[in-house]
Symmetry: C2
Subunit: 423 residues, 2 copies
Amino acid sequence: MALIVQKFGGSSVADAESIQRVARRIVETHEAGNEVVVVVSAMGDSTDELLDLASECTASPAPRELDMLLTAGERISMALLAMTIKGMDVDAFSFTGSQAGMITTPDHGSAKIVDVTPGRVREALDKGAVAIVAGFQGFSRDSRDITTLGRGGSDTTAVALAAALNADVCEIYTDVDGVFTTDPRMVPLARKIDSITAEEMLELAASGAKVLHLRAVEYARRHGVVLHVRSSFTGEEGTIVYDPAKGHPKGVQVEESVITGIAAEKSEAKITVGGVPDVPGKAAQIFEVVAKTDANIDIIVQNISEEGRTDISFTVPVTDGERVLAALEAEREALGFGRLKMDDQIAKIAVVGAGMRTSTGVSAQLFRALYDAGINIEMISTSEIRISVVTRADRMEEAVRVLHTAFGLDAEDEATVYAGTGR
Amino acid sequence: MALIVQKFGGSSVADAESIQRVARRIVETHEAGNEVVVVVSAMGDSTDELLDLASECTASPAPRELDMLLTAGERISMALLAMTIKGMDVDAFSFTGSQAGMITTPDHGSAKIVDVTPGRVREALDKGAVAIVAGFQGFSRDSRDITTLGRGGSDTTAVALAAALNADVCEIYTDVDGVFTTDPRMVPLARKIDSITAEEMLELAASGAKVLHLRAVEYARRHGVVLHVRSSFTGEEGTIVYDPAKGHPKGVQVEESVITGIAAEKSEAKITVGGVPDVPGKAAQIFEVVAKTDANIDIIVQNISEEGRTDISFTVPVTDGERVLAALEAEREALGFGRLKMDDQIAKIAVVGAGMRTSTGVSAQLFRALYDAGINIEMISTSEIRISVVTRADRMEEAVRVLHTAFGLDAEDEATVYAGTGR
């Protein structure tokens, strides 16, 4: 008997018919002799509808009340799912984040999980019932208030429960077949990846692959939770995300490929601070100012110094761009820089593979492929198992296609692409 | 400084605009120097929409999950209301039934309040904030589950909180101006009643007056809570429901009127068990069978015995009729009756007034008025301050009009009738 956590996103429970389909899958898993814990998001667009209602009522909704409002979404989907399963003669209980023991910090809208005490979930399983848990939500012991985990919250709930219950696997159901070598809507010859290490998945998620949220992958890696990303529409196996140190959950011997996947995104902007006095500590001063804005800096490049002055460029999420510019502008005198400009017409492309550690020549191969296609590289950043480059935004898709072919990732046939966004 | 509990029903918070109107009223009450606790129902038709969703998902929704589902409704309205008030620069916190300390029995769908521990509500008031509480819902300590109070639940929540917090008044906002001498849609010359005793209100509510739920009135009477039923559309004073032993809250000397109001309803059916052997204990046997169906028996009439056999008639809610018939039919042999029939074309009219205790001739006046109008009385039942009669359903409105005039209740002008049902 295995303990399986299954997570279904909003598009999988968008209406009564989808809820019945999801319920049948849960019942099948249960009847195959497994203990099943289900984490569910709010139905379809219902979260957006609640946000619209809030903005009709008031210009800036109080975060505590916004969390109270939004948590109604999963309450509805989990109750409907539980009663549908019970209607199929399998016992089921729904639990709010609070009831399921998702204890968080009191930060409304972006709470962090500090403890998971799933006593009631365990009791339900011990009774032979399926436990349905609301994703995305938690409870703060400090404030005694309901909280939400923010973006990627439901995936994180599922992974955290899987870790706390010592589950055999955490299945993330989505509207694609698994994790692909790259976005199949961009590269029709993208291949589904059967197995990927958590470390690689982390680099892909951090670089813009949307199928799993970075935060959930981080949590899974830290707690050794095996993930299975698979389609809620088919019964096919999807992608296993595992820790190679612990071995593949199915005992499969996976040969490390040099390059596993390619992620790309246009959601970053490049900020260039020009004419910075090239004296020690100046860069630190600039990044202290940026850090105070809470913007996430990704790639940093410092040009070679000329005449005692240098240019520093870095990328931040487009949505943080104006805030960072304003913060730097306010300190222009103290920092002593010349030009300040933002360029939001950039794309970031990341090539990821654990085999990179032991392979040489990967970067040379990458530069050559892009050079041959006439695509200019504006910034470069590397980790042990990733090379990221920044190009013009309008060359992104071409660059990904060229690299996908160059690194031998192309499939023989085109992938099936479902409607939807992968979330 | 007074402590005021204000209850707003679903039609008062049906959309963003209504929520803002309600928020303004709450802010005004707060800024006039009062402590304000608000009890709110789910928005407009949202409870029905959730029920529809449930029935699309499964034929017979599990009661625990149905309560989980339905409580999402008030969660949405209370959060929207709280954030709207905060947007008007008055501090506000929303609380679920559980957070507000509405402790109930574990009976899903019809839980009874067993304790009210509004510690967090009191804390919010002590901080100078408005407390917004979800109506209709509670929490069972035994099952650790969320419950709902069933019909009239939000009124009951408001009254229970008012009692626990020792509030000065519990204002029930509705879409009519207050309690009327009878339904103004039926009798245009109906008058708004300025003050009514809780006892009279109880008889009117039990007899079909829809403006207040029987259960809430009972709770208010038992705990000495003063109610103020008023319009959510105007600023006008409505109807004060008070305990004459404690005196009128505004010190007004109210002269007891012989007849205060007339209620009428068509929701009962008359069941006649014919040819019952006229032996001791037979009636008891019949009503034991009926009691097991949980149907609420109202009026009972036993005819004069002929040839050792008698007829017993009684009224039950139409919705319970078939169940009662089936239960009796199943025991036909043991009970030994002859005919069994149900008549759902009846109306029940109740004339209520505390002055009836000391006045004589009220029933004679009632019978004369109906006789003069050619309306036949089929059953009669009386309490200390009420006379109820059963007539044909199609004569109900005429009977009420005739009695309204006969007992001197007619106003000089016709009442303003708003759209909506009064709930």
